[in-house]
């Protein structure tokens, strides 16, 4: 296969040298073809070095320490917050809350609203709006909130093409809506959603908007001011950072008004046996010793991505995704679940392959060194919507190459022969 017609590709030869795991060879001589990036990304040497340097040179608990290490650790941890704020164009660093992952970020929003005073309080008269393409992390916290408060949970359906069906937006988002929570990019379908339309409608009825940017932040420019949402959640491990670190961005005035969820050290101002007052945001929402090294790792990951440029990362992935869609069309009986063009689409592609169960597809691909994910991808309602038990998903990142797409296609032909 020649790839000379592809434009916008990054210098993956150079980039791949930064990722030690990408040079692994599996099963007697098969080079690893890592196409499971929507589940988690690999980590570059620069991030691993930052973690090591933190533990070898600076390790300490953060805040209130008077010794050198405590000051260094605090500066590194708070420096990571600055990097995140710049990366997402946040108006203030105080709007960046560190959590352990996107799931915790979304649960935090749901719990803030459950315990809030008016006008934010979600109660039995309220409605919560999500979509049928959410990750379970953006479904279950809202189901819990609805069950506990008596609020009504509503959702946008999906079109046959794998896009949000906005035709009934006026029935879904109403004066009763308190919060609308949608994903910017679907982890199963790959769809990029027109969140501006939803934000405008929500604003017109005075509802808050939370955006799950877990599949967006790693792959393209993320500008929380341009989004005009109230909360944006994402997770570090999908964007070259370690596991155990996530982000919730929230608008400053909301964070000031909304109540804390977890209580503990770090989040207080003063404590008596009767009651406490709370530190200002973001610390109000960061109870206990935070994931310090992980935040430092996220800062290093952001440095790495920013040095390349998120617009360039997006262009690279767009070219790879378009090429993959084109080549997948060559595989008989292959059905893409989600948009069949690279327009408004992220770099995760789910598909079915005739009657061959995804579990078997993934197993035979693994034997050839190709790592894909199989199952419902924590978005089971999407599978139900399209009447399938599961999919096989290939997902790309900045180090993915057209040659890896070719390996996937060859692998899929082999799968068909194996079960044919």
């Amino acid at each position: 296969m020649t790839h000379s017609h592809l434009t916008g590709l990054l210098d993956t030869d150079a980039i791949r040298k930064d990722f030690p795991v990408l040079s692994r060879v599996l099963h007697d001589g098969k080079p690893l073809v890592y196409l499971d990036n929507a589940a988690t990304s690999q980590k570059p040497r620069q991030v691993l070095d930052a973690l090591n340097a933190y533990y070898e040179q600076h390790n300490s608990n953060v805040h209130r320490g008077v010794h050198v290490l405590a000051e260094e650790a605090t500066a590194l941890y708070e420096g990571a917050r600055d990097k995140v704020a710049a990366f997402i164009n946040a108006p203030s660093r105080n709007e960046v809350i560190f959590t352990k992952n996107a799931s915790e970020s979304l649960n935090l929003v749901a719990n803030m609203l459950g315990w809030a005073d008016e006008p934010y309080r979600v109660d039995a008269d309220s409605e919560i709006v999500i979509t049928e393409m959410e990750h379970h992390s953006n479904i279950v916290p809202w189901q819990l909130l609805a069950q506990r408060t008596g609020a009504k949970l509503k959702w946008f359906g999906l079109t046959d093409e794998g896009r949000l069906d906005l035709s009934n937006i006026d029935e879904l988002i109403t004066e009763k809506t308190k919060i609308v929570s949608v994903t910017l990019v679907s982890n199963l379908l790959g769809t990029v959603n027109p969140v501006e339309t939803i934000v405008r409608k929500a604003q017109s009825v005075g509802a808050l908007v939370a955006i799950d940017a877990s599949q967006a932040a790693p792959h393209a420019v993320l500008d929380v001011q341009a989004l005009e949402a109230d909360f944006v959640a994402f997770t570090g491990h999908k964007m070259l950072a370690p596991t155990g670190i996530g982000v919730l961005w929230g608008r400053q005035e909301l964070l000031e008004d909304l109540p804390p969820f977890l209580g503990g050290g770090e989040m207080i101002e003063t404590v008596t046996m009767g009651s406490s007052t709370y530190a200002p945001a973001p610390h109000k929402f960061e109870a206990g010793t935070p994931p310090i090294a992980q935040a430092v790792g996220l800062g290093a990951a952001i440095d790495y991505l920013s040095a390349i440029g998120m617009d360039k990362v997006a262009a690279h992935e767009h070219a790879i995704t378009a090429y993959a869609i084109e080549r997948l069309a060559e595989v008989p009986d292959l059905r893409i679940i989600g948009p069949r063009t690279a327009v408004d689409r992220g770099a995760a592609i789910s598909f079915t392959l005739g009657d061959i169960h995804p579990h078997d597809v993934g197993q035979v691909l693994d034997e050839q060194g190709i790592a894909v994910r199989v199952g419902h991808h924590c978005a089971r309602p999407v599978c139900l919507r399209y009447g399938i038990p599961a999919t096989t998903r290939a997902s790309f990142y900045l180090y993915s190459t057209p040659g890896e797409v070719d390996a996937l296609i060859d692998g899929l032909h082999h799968v068909r022969n194996f079960f044919g």
């Binding site: 078997d360 599978c383 038990p389």
Partner: protein
């Protein structure tokens, strides 16, 4: 190739032509799922005295889970509940062997073909799905017939 140790010809044959598939009359019914890959089975057990008269099932899932339900049907129908439970226990032991056991062909017959699957932790649940459903359904059927005990 290592893969051939999992996808034995016998397994692929059972997968392509499952034995006893379809739901028929039964004394108890259960529905089991394998959350890792979405394999599902609805299984009914029909007892005739102490004998397993029928195991009928409707299922969807990967080749391993489908083939294993087919082999289950072959192996337990016609046996007494006690004999069938011994087969089930032998199969469970084989699947938990992490590739260390070849299985007793006297007891397990075609099911020894699953020995290779036991090396793949993610697939052991697939192989056990039908068997666990059968165990569960049989316990329910027996609870409805307290006179049968062996």
């Amino acid at each position: 190739m290592k893969l051939d140790s999992m996808y034995q010809e016998i397994i692929l044959d059972h997968y392509r032509n499952p034995h006893g598939k379809g739901l028929r009359d039964g004394d108890a019914e259960v529905h089991h799922v394998n959350p890792t890959c979405g394999d599902e089975i609805t299984l009914r057990v029909k007892l005739d005295g102490a004998v397993v008269a029928d195991v009928s099932y409707e299922s969807q899932g990967c080749s391993i889970s489908q083939a294993s339900a087919s082999v289950l049907n072959d192996l337990v129908v016609g046996k007494t509940v006690g004999e069938a439970q011994q087969v089930q226990e032998a199969f469970l032991e084989l699947m938990q062997s992490k590739g260390q056991s070849e299985g007793d062909e006297e007891i397990l017959e075609d099911a020894v073909a699953f020995a290779g699957v036991s090396k793949y932790p993610a697939r052991v649940k697939c192989a056990l799905l039908g068997w666990m459903a059968w165990k569960d359904a049989t316990a329910k059927a027996l609870a409805g017939h307290p006179e049968i005990s062996d």
